[in-house]
């Protein structure tokens, strides 16, 4: 018996990746979550963070939001924004961080938005290091 299950990341305009994996770590809304084969059926959504797909090699994607469904050993991630980490350039990262920080300082935003933004800034800063 193989220990793998299928992973699919789909954005509105294309299917980003479809592969098999041993373990996937996702930044779920209420905390990091690791998924292995035969995990219980699950629906949750994501906060900004990094999706890690572990197979023969490790792939990492930065996501801002998304919905995750796991059923019958099929992991489905619907997100409007997922980029492989290697695609990020240092300069664009800095502008992203700046934008997020500016939004963060705006006092009108709700606590929920603040929570999401803080994760976004943190993840982006981690990437840029």
């Amino acid at each position: 018996m193989s220990e793998k299950f299928t992973v699919e990341i789909i954005s509105p305009d294309r299917s980003i990746i479809k592969t098999e994996s041993i373990e996937v770590r996702i930044p779920s809304y209420e905390g990091e979550m690791g998924i292995l084969k035969d995990h219980i059926s699950l629906i949750t959504f994501l906060r900004p963070g990094i999706i890690t797909i572990v197979d023969d090699k490790v792939m990492k994607f930065f996501v801002e939001e998304g919905t995750v469904e796991f059923a019958n050993n099929n992991l489905l991630i619907l997100t409007s924004s997922a980029d492989e980490l290697s695609n990020f350039k240092k300069t664009s990262l800095e502008t992203l961080i700046n934008e997020a920080e500016k939004k963060f300082e705006n006092e009108k935003i709700t606590d929920k938005e603040k929570y999401l933004l803080s994760y976004k800034i943190e993840t982006l800063k981690n990437i840029s290091q």
Partner: protein, 291 residues
């Protein structure tokens, strides 16, 4: 009988029209391939989204407290119709088909004594609808200057609709667009997006019980607005592919018709040329005979 010169001019003009339609067909064909690809790539996302929502709905225990976007306001008074059309013409029955379907629906809604509100997206639909239903239009949107419609535009419309919904401006929302079946067939389609239409026909996987994190209704509250944007985006993609397909067929027909017309005119032209030659010959011969 038109003179030879007139015929010549007409043939020339038809030929140049044919050149234009041919070029348009080529352009449409090239764009179609891309649009079709996009539409097909976009389908899984919206389908899976629908599936998740279906699963969520089935596991909701207390339908009374479910989000209003899912179950509706409980009223059935005001209808919001969103009509998606193209910004450009010359694409056969594409725009008219959507408008025709929309108008039949408008008529029914009004006859049932319900309130009607219309949002048009794309200038061609607006032109056709505003004559009869102009006073119902509450918003006109157009993305003429955008080359490629992205999810962001769909989100703008989605947010607008949700804002209106939260202000209690309408009870039901229907989306009109063309479904891309293949190059020749596009089916105008009316889809109800609020309250979410949940098809419960395929209940094969119904028994799956999910673990939710956070709670079901919290997820639904996050997911339903997203789903609306997704459905609109899907409609956009289908529409874009349909528009190009429709234009391609229309222009193909136009090119063929122009060809037929040129053939007919050429025969006419040759006939009248022959007739004038014969006439001249007769004149010369009869002139010579009379001498």
């Amino acid at each position: 009988m038109p003179s030879l010169d007139d015929l010549k001019k007409r043939i020339k003009s038809v030929k140049s029209t044919q050149k234009i339609t041919k070029a348009m067909k080529m352009v449409a064909a090239a764009k179609l391939r891309k649009a079709q690809e996009n539409a097909e790539k976009g389908r899984p996302y919206s389908q899976k989204m629908q599936n998740i929502i279906l699963n969520l709905t089935q596991s909701i225990n207390d339908p009374k407290n479910a989000p209003k976007l899912l179950v509706g306001t409980g009223k059935d008074k005001t209808y919001l119709c969103v009509v998606l059309t193209a910004d450009r013409g010359l694409c056969g029955g594409f725009n008219s088909n959507i408008c025709k379907l929309a108008k039949t629906n408008f008529k029914r809604i009004i006859e049932e004594g319900k309130l009607l509100k219309i949002i048009t997206v794309g200038s061609k639909g607006l032109d056709q609808i505003k004559r009869d239903y102009g006073k119902y239009i509450i918003k006109k949107l157009s993305f003429k200057d955008k080359k490629q419609i992205s999810f962001r535009e769909a989100k703008i419309i989605g947010d607008e609709i949700i804002k209106l919904f939260n202000q209690d401006e309408f009870d039901k929302c229907i989306l009109f667009y063309n479904n891309f079946k293949n190059v020749i067939t596009q089916i105008p389609h009316a889809q109800q997006i609020i309250p979410a239409e949940v098809k419960s026909s395929d209940t094969k996987e119904k028994s799956l019980s999910y673990e939710f994190e956070p709670e079901e209704d919290e997820i639904l509250e996050d997911l339903l607005p997203k789903n609306i944007s997704t459905q609109i985006f899907k409609a956009f993609l289908e529409n874009a592919a349909s528009e190009q397909g429709s234009r391609m067929t229309a222009m193909d027909n136009a090119t063929r018709n122009a060809g037929d017309l040129v053939d007919k005119l050429t025969i006419n032209y040759n006939r009248s040329r022959q007739a004038s030659i014969t006439k001249e010959l007769i004149e010369i011969i009869s002139g010579a005979e009379s001498l």
